[in-house]
């Protein structure tokens, strides 16, 4: 089972909670700025995601979530 991390950059306020909370070190602060002037996270290491859902539960602005990628989709 693979998981995919989705980030809405414009919703993010750059608090960094998701980066700290991720046990698998998937996320990293990015260089780019969104329109509010914050640095959203980026998935630097998406294969390592274990789909724990912690980033999704902690994010105060509903900017990040994970979905499961079905095996069939991965092979295509």
């Amino acid at each position: 089972m693979k998981a995919e991390v989705h980030i809405i950059k414009e919703r993010c306020k750059g608090c960094g909670i998701c980066i700290e909370i991720c046990q698998a070190s998937v996320l990293e602060i990015s260089e780019e700025l969104n329109t509010n002037g914050y640095h959203p996270p980026v998935a630097k290491n998406p294969e390592a995601c274990i789909n724990c859902g912690m980033c999704e539960m902690f994010c105060p602005d509903f900017a990040i979530w994970v979905t499961v990628v079905k095996e069939a989709d991965v092979n295509v």
């Binding site: 998981a3 989705h6 809405i8 414009e10 919703r11 993010c12 306020k13 750059g14 608090c15 960094g16 909670i17 700290e20 509010n36 914050y38 789909n51 859902g53 912690m54 999704e56 539960m57 902690f58 994010c59 105060p60 602005d61 509903f62 900017a63 979530w65 994970v66 979905t67 499961v68």
Partner: protein, 264 residues
Amino acid sequence: MSRSIVEGVGPIHPFNEFLQVGSIPSVWCPGCGIGTVVNIFIETIEKLKVDVEKLCVLSGIGCTGKIIDYLKFNSAHKVNGSVLQYASEFKMKNPDKKVVVFLNDVDLMIAGSDDLLNIGTKGMDVFVIYINNFIYYVLIEHRSLLKTPFMGTTTDMSSASPFNIPHLAKSCGARYVARWTPLHVRRLMYSMRDALQRDSLSFVEVISPCLIYYASDGIVGRSFDRMKLFHDNAVIKHNEPIENLDIRFQDKVIVGEFIDEREK
């Protein structure tokens, strides 16, 4: 996590149906625990499959009061401590609605404790989520009502005596009392789940530090460190005697589920 499996849908946040999407990002400071509490609340609503038509969310003054701006539920915003009074009136007129109230220090400690007593003694089914950030006061003489743990740089703050809010809730007749910090996400979710299923007054205190407060005193740097300060200084003691729950200066914060009296 079955809810994470979104089939045939593009990148849409699973909670978008409960959110006023246009208002997000919220006005809260980056890293403020209130946003996480809202996230956990929506997750609880979704997991329990609560009928949102039967739900009414009320909020009071201050940063906590902004919560309803981002929720797509039946909601009302009441100023200056009248939210618990409104909750009791609303519940009397609409007994079939599930009332959830988000409070902060003013709504409960300064203006609403009499209404909490009213709700509790009448056995009304109201779920109170009290977000305690140790900060709010409307007049300078209200300032010493709550004790701020882990800091006491100003003399008026450190002279304040601690107040035991779970004890207040229990005395008012709450039959479910718990306390967590926003970083205890799963435990907070289980507490919200249990509290929502009770049919009398239930009370959950969330200790969520105000980041601005700490920043102005130059205590710690990043927002996550400030939240973690409370998380690391929390000890989980379920069913701790309610008298021991006051938060003393630079002492451990006791969190857990303290009272769970089910209906007989």
